[in-house]
Symmetry: C2
Subunit: 252 residues, 2 copies
């Protein structure tokens, strides 16, 4: 019997050094909202996205002809072309463009995991193509939840649990640590209404975020896009041939 | 309306610096097995327990007339009086004794939180008296899960969820972060059979731990002891008057 590929979940970029990522596909997750927005940008034809940890470094990309996108604590940064809402990344404004992006949590998580065997971007928006692609790789998977300022958050964990649950059900993967097991349990409890689960769960925090209610609803929708952003030479690009491959391998 | 006291859960000693513990009661949790064993020791009349992070430092206490107890990776350390099994801490061998203790996770967690407003020790063995005492304090509570080598673990999280659930049900406390909310959800799912939940959940790890199966069953029993170990001047002691107070305030 062949050993199963392992599934691990890291709940905070601050804990990432505890994991061995050199032989794992790392899925970076910041459901609200960085990794959702990144998926939308590529679905709408963005050329590449350079994740940048620091605000100053991001601004410097403006002179190189990049659009610059920046957010801290949920707010768009002054002087930036746009913030972190997925609705900013739709339509003609991003098509063919290169974007430099800095956010509170998501771009920090990408930075923490940049030396992984491979780094891809996950969100509910691209969950279907991502699940199928991960299944085909038959490689260890390590989910990195961006969390909130290095603390655990629920929405990223639920996404990790959803994909982990799918992979484990295939029989080819095995949840290999307590955090992966917990993520699956939480997803099982939440799966029938993610929005309501998060609403009931983090009522206080959601109240503070009323301004982005539409963003939240959007970011919890599944399979709106068919791209898998992947880090190559320090920039995120859309993995080639994903749409075609998925279309060909899907049952009619 | 008076503001409710907050409940937070920190899943790893490595994340503890992200929390403000100067105004919180910190409950350190290492269900398997350090904090369970500490509770048993005080129930059996131990005088004090000095938690020591390093093995060498712990050994040095031998000359001062202490019993020395030490464990790494689940194994008793050579030359130590005993290891980390709760069954080591019963009966006449600990009565009136001072013990220096070093373990893989538990004593590291105590060390990380030593500057808290107050540091107490939690385990399923003392859950009842601890819950009642916390309720009476009406103070912010921060649970620190010792985890496993700074990674998340399920048993410590379930204990945090159990107490958090109890406190929140009183109406005087509010789960204030996603990790507290997740711990409550996980406890709700596990509460009817903690042993089975952990067995199903971490089958692999439990197999590796078959040798301590009896310890695990014991450590998941509730309300076997009526002590609350508290850190005072660098040493754990049994909080005075807990038994009497609890007895007096309990309904007949």
């Amino acid at each position: 019997m062949q050993a199963k590929a392992s599934i691990e979940v890291c709940y905070s970029p601050a804990l990432f050094p505890l994991y061995n990522a050199t032989d794992s596909i790392v899925v970076v997750i910041d459901v609200l909202r960085a990794t959702s927005s990144i998926c939308v940008a590529f679905e709408n034809g963005a050329e590449k996205i350079v994740p940048v940890a620091k605000i100053d470094d991001c601004q410097a990309y403006k002179e190189k002809g990049f659009l610059i996108a920046g957010e801290r604590n949920g707010e768009k940064l002054d002087g930036f072309d746009f913030g972190n809402s997925p609705f900013n990344y739709m339509g003609a404004q991003v098509k063919g463009k290169s974007i430099a992006l800095t956010t509170t949590n998501g771009t920090q998580a990408i930075d923490a995991a940049k030396h992984a065997y491979k780094l891809v971007i996950g969100s509910f928006l691209n969950i279907g193509v991502l699940q199928q692609w991960l299944l085909e790789q038959n490689k260890n998977v390590l989910f990195l939840c961006a969390g909130w300022k290095n603390k655990f958050n629920l929405e990223d964990t639920l996404f990790a649990g959803a994909v982990a649950s799918y992979l484990q059900a295939s029989g080819e993967f095995m949840a290999d640590c307590d955090s992966a097991i917990a993520a699956i349990h939480l997803y099982e409890k939440a799966q029938h209404d993610l929005f309501k689960f998060l609403e009931n769960s983090s009522h206080r925090r959601r109240l503070e975020r009323l301004k982005i209610e539409k963003d939240i609803e959007f970011c919890l929708m599944q399979n709106l896009v068919k791209v898998i952003p992947v880090l190559e030479n320090g920039a995120l690009v859309s993995m080639p041939n994903v749409k075609r491959e998925i279309a060909e391998s899907s049952p009619a």
